[in-house]
């Protein structure tokens, strides 16, 4: 431990979508690392511990160490010359950086997509179809006397969802915390989260939709056949009991994870759950909320939406935003071999995308921004080392419930932020193109000004 210590209070952990902003960080300024992170969960502690400053080149261009400026020049050349590039990732960086990334996408007529397309994208699509009754996490803390977790394992993936927001905390109208709440967990297997639940429904794999649809029918007073048990593993009596409780609580919350969205049925599942919450409002107050993974994936959804009208999978090649998941989502663009360059920010698709997609990433020029050397960084033509948001970089992140929080960085990094690098790339591309590139669908007259 160095002698030069600093305490940062009310710092924010950006590891997961809980975005807890009550961290007390002890920083060893002599060694540029965080040595203690009070209030952090086990995941947060690891996040803070692992983001010390490493000795790495500022950039690697075509396998050689390079300066940030050289990296920017090469990246700008790639993007200015690409005909159908994709910009992907963005869920682990600040909104300020996300805004510049979308601006680049607009300027070059590329595609902008975020990690939403491989996590809660189906929930975004379901939202477009049916809407959503939702709430900030504090409403759940202060009011929810019934909480249903569906298709997730918060104890291991979002530990403080239980302890800070939705199960154990005492709230204004929930004076005794967990004692005042009925906690239900729905999953295909028992996990470390199961003991938290008062009621556990172990559904058969790939039958979430059927369970949700049966619940909707029961809420509306329709008849459900007893064969539902054979199909889903849950008896009609259990479903009826659950519906009776749901209708009689004061304020209910459905929190759902990727066990629902990335399962058979995808956006139909999310849509069924959102519709169930809506239906229940005929009887009492119900809200639903996707439990988001990355620290600022919710910010990415917000930024892309306010700049384009659509949350992810947005293409600008015609000169205006078009949304088409399946066509403009990154896994699909890469697997089909559609794109001729990729700018990947704070994400590592080369480690988790399907093989065909990774193979295409190896064929095209890739630009990568990441604090760590990742698989994607290793196959990139230009790999920038960046500082880490929330630890070295200030800016804004959105909690999973759309609440924006300003970051309090703990110590300085010698490496630039995503925002700084993206801004430099944007400025250079603008210079190379002489302004925004005309869209393929743009009448000539409106581009000359």
């Amino acid at each position: 431990m160095g002698e030069n210590l600093k305490i940062v209070t009310d710092a924010t952990c950006t590891f997961c979508g809980c975005v807890c902003d009550d961290m007390v960080l002890t920083v060893d300024l002599d060694h540029n690392r965080i040595i203690k992170s009070e209030n952090a969960c086990i995941l947060g502690k690891a996040w803070f511990k692992e983001h010390a400053i490493e000795e790495r080149p500022f950039a690697i261009v075509k396998g050689r160490e390079a300066s940030t400026e050289e990296g920017v020049e090469e990246a700008a050349q790639i993007l200015a010359n690409a005909r159908f590039p994709v910009i992907y990732g963005l869920s682990d960086t600040t909104c300020e950086a996300q805004r510049v990334a979308v601006a680049i996408g607009d300027m070059i007529g590329g595609t902008v997509d975020t990690t939403t397309s491989v996590c809660h994208g189906p929930s975004g699509i379901a939202f477009q179809g049916v809407g959503e009754s939702t709430a900030s996490l504090g409403e759940i803390k202060n009011r929810a006397d019934m909480v249903v977790f569906w298709g997730g394992n918060p104890a291991e993936a979002h530990p403080r969802l239980f302890t800070r927001y939705a199960v154990t905390p005492k709230g204004m109208y929930i004076p005794n915390g967990k004692k005042d709440r009925t906690v239900v967990l729905v999953d295909v297997r028992r996990t470390l989260s199961t003991p938290v639940a008062d009621i556990f429904l172990q559904v058969k794999p790939r039958s979430d939709f059927e369970v949700l649809w049966a619940l909707r029918a029961l809420v509306k007073g329709r008849k459900v056949d007893t064969s539902v048990e054979q199909r889903t593993g849950i008896s009609l009596a259990v479903l009826e009991d659950l519906v009776a409780r749901m209708k009689s609580c004061n304020y209910g919350a459905l929190l759902f994870g990727m066990g629902l969205t990335m399962n058979r049925g995808r956006h139909f599942n999310s849509g069924a759950l959102l519709a169930l919450a809506t239906d229940l409002n005929e009887f009492t107050h119900w809200v639903a909320k996707p439990v988001r993974g990355h620290g600022n994936v919710t910010g990415a959804d917000n930024v892309v939406s306010w700049q384009t009208g659509f949350p992810f999978g947005v293409n600008f090649s015609r000169g205006y935003p078009r949304f088409n998941p399946g066509e403009f989502t990154t896994v699909d663009l890469l697997s089909r071999g559609d794109v001729d360059a990729a700018l990947i920010i704070a994400s590592d698709p080369a480690s988790n995308f399907p093989k065909a997609a990774i193979e295409h990433l190896k064929r095209i020029p890739v630009i990568n921004l990441d604090p760590k050397l990742t698989h994607t960084g290793q196959l990139a033509r230009v790999a920038f080392t960046t500082s880490t948001y929330g630890i070295n970089v200030a800016g804004t992140v959105y909690r999973m419930d759309d609440v924006p929080i300003t970051l309090r960085p703990a110590f300085d990094s010698p490496y630039p932020s995503d925002e700084q690098i993206l801004t430099a790339i944007r400025n250079r591309v603008r210079q190379l193109l002489g302004g925004n590139r005309p869209g393929a669908g743009t009448p000539l007259a409106t581009t000359v000004s």
């Binding site: 009310d10 924010t12 902003d21 009550d22 909104c95 805004r99 601006a103 607009d106 939202f127 477009q128 049916v130 809407g131 959503e132 009754s133 939702t134 709430a135 900030s136 996490l137 504090g138 409403e139 803390k141 202060n142 009011r143 927001y165 709230g171 204004m172 109208y173 004061n250 304020y251 809506t278 409002n281 107050h285 917000n302 939406s305 306010w306 700049q307 384009t308 009208g309 659509f310 949350p311 600008f316 000169g319 205006y320 935003p321 078009r322 949304f323 804004t396 959105y398 759309d402 609440v403 924006p404 929080i405 300003t406 302004g435 925004n436 005309p438 743009t442 009448p443 409106t446 000004s449």
Partner: protein, 559 residues
């Protein structure tokens, strides 16, 4: 900025300075209106044209959490109305809830240079400022939702009026907001806490609080006046949209007892009941409402006119959105914000054949046509609730062109017209001077923006120049020139430059010790730390602090 401009030969409509179409030079230097411009200043020959201050929208929904939810939920609305990028401007999508860049460009494209976002939760202030920073050209500010704030309720029920006032000022300060906004005061607590119930009477108890909407409204009116805010409390009354609600509206205005108060989208609050029956089709009580406003100079209102076609109902009045969902039957968004507000969103289409919709349309027109003091009954459609801001030119034509109005009246549900008073005010036609009052000078004055809404020396050089045309819809749809802060943004109908625009906000004085009252409450009930709640200056970018009447005039710190 820094450049000079001389606009010559145009007919100038500047009601704040008494100019009613006089041919005058308008000179600009360093972003301001000046008495004279240097000889080498760029000249615009506005012969045959009308020169007005830039439009000022006193109430619209253009940025922030609920707006973004409304954007996200309507991909179909964007797909059929795209906005192309140019060499210098950003692309986007339109529909009733356009993307941020498109919002700024389209407002400017109508000759508007200032717009006020009308409902922002304090927790959503940071988000709103981020969106406003991506809303180009126009100056903008936002009203802060406070009428269902739990901590403020606690202070009020304990009779701590001084601390209530300091807390109100603190909240405006902490959010960088412009004015306090009340929406259906008391309603959210019942909606969230009592199984989707709602407030229906001003003297009804608000859930667990020893308070009524009447007490809440009175306290806000008083505190806002004591603080000397440039714009008083901005009230969305209880019972919006309900048959017979005009009595609630009159009663709310009476609570003001001579103090400055703004009632927003008053059209939605001017409904009577047939022969005393509630639950039946509404009737128009526009004449009663206008009569009250005409005779009470402390009251101002914006109309919130309804225009036929697609709209998006987006409101902090969550029970109202739930009610509307029954008519539309489509998508519904509800979003509760801890300790602060509710919110509801429903895509909605106003149809001319539907009795209620036609009546709402008629009442909006009636309010304008019966108004005697145009400075206090100003223009709005509560965008996008009553209709998109893109329908403003058509609404202007309805007010200015009697024949056109008659023609449109013939198309709508006639029974609704029978139950409105619109047929009694057929003759009135608004003049250009009067349009300039309700779309520029009036809203600027009501907002306390002394440098906007007029073309006198010292005013912001926000100027719109229209080609004169008998078709007023066409005329107001396509200004030939739009000048923002002295910069030529639109020339010959085309965008020449991009521009950032400023955030307009207030910073009223308060006793700092109020934080010791607020902070413990945060630690018990909020899920965000007190230290992380206040919005810092980094989110303001270009901005201007508008002083309260208690603060020295001219204090500003433009970024």
């Amino acid at each position: 900025m820094g450049s000079s401009l001389r606009i010559v030969n145009g007919r100038v409509y500047d009601p704040a300075n008494g100019l009613d179409g006089a041919v005058r030079d308008v000179c600009v230097r360093d972003g301001k209106i000046v008495a004279d411009a240097p000889a080498d200043a760029k000249r615009i020959d506005a012969r045959g044209m009308v020169v007005m201050p830039g439009g000022v929208d006193i109430h619209c929904h253009i940025a922030g959490p609920k707006v973004n939810l409304a954007r996200k939920v309507q991909p179909e609305d964007h797909r059929r109305d795209v906005h192309l990028r140019t060499r210098t401007t950003r692309s986007g999508t339109g529909g009733t809830v356009p993307s941020t860049f498109t919002t700024g460009y389209r407002y400017a494209g109508l000759g508007y240079t200032t717009a006020m976002e009308a409902a922002v939760t304090p927790l959503g202030a940071r988000h709103t400022l981020e969106e406003l920073h991506d809303t180009p050209i126009i100056d903008k500010g936002f009203f802060v939702l406070m009428g269902n704030n739990v901590l403020l309720y606690r202070l009020l029920q304990e009779g701590r009026r001084e601390e209530f006032r300091h807390a109100l000022a603190w909240w405006l300060h902490a959010t960088k907001g412009y004015a306090p906004k009340l929406v259906n005061p008391g309603g959210d607590e019942l909606w969230k806490g009592e199984r989707n119930a709602n407030i229906t009477k001003l003297d009804q108890k608000i859930g667990p609080f020893d308070l009524t909407p009447r007490k809440v409204i009175a306290a806000f009116i008083e505190a806002a006046n004591e603080l000397g805010l440039p714009h008083p409390v901005h009230i969305h009354c209880n019972n919006l949209g309900h048959t017979g609600n005009y009595e609630t509206t009159l009663e709310t205005m009476r609570i003001a007892e001579g103090q400055r108060t703004h009632i927003t989208h008053i059209q939605f609050h001017s409904y009577g009941a047939v022969a005393g029956k509630s639950g039946d089709n509404p009737t128009s009580k526009a004449s009663e409402i206008v009569e009250f406003v005409n005779t009470h100079p402390n009251i101002s209102a914006d109309v919130g006119a309804v225009m036929f076609g697609r709209s998006t109902s987006m409101t902090a009045d969550a029970p109202l959105a739930y009610m509307l969902r029954r008519f539309g039957g489509g998508k519904w968004v509800n979003a509760d914000t801890e300790m602060e507000s509710g919110c509801g969103i429903v895509p909605f289409t106003y149809q001319d054949r539907v009795y209620t919709n036609a009546l709402q349309w008629a009442i909006g027109l009636e309010l304008f046509l019966r108004s005697e003091d145009l400075w206090r009954m100003v223009f709005s459609t509560d965008h996008p609730n009553g209709g998109s801001f893109m329908s403003y030119p058509r609404l202007i034509r309805l007010l200015m062109d009697c024949e056109y109005r008659k023609q449109e009246m013939a198309k709508v549900n006639q029974q609704a017209l029978d139950n409105s008073g619109l047929r009694d005010c057929l003759a009135r036609e608004y003049s250009l001077y009067e349009i300039a009052i309700i779309t520029r000078a009036g809203p600027a004055r009501l907002l306390g923006l002394t440098e906007k809404g007029h073309l006198g020396v010292g005013a912001d050089a926000d100027i719109t120049i229209y080609d004169e045309d008998d078709d007023k819809e066409k005329m107001f749809s396509t200004p030939r020139y739009v000048i923002k802060d002295g910069e030529l943004i639109i020339e010959d109908h085309e965008f020449r430059a991009d521009h950032e625009g400023r955030v307009l906000h207030v910073a009223p004085d308060y006793d700092q010790s109020i934080e010791q009252v607020i902070q413990p409450f945060f630690e018990d009930f909020y899920t965000i730390r007190f230290a992380n709640y206040q919005v810092d200056d980094r989110y303001l970018h270009q901005h201007q602090t508008i002083p309260t009447t208690r603060q020295a005039v001219g204090v500003s710190n433009g970024g």
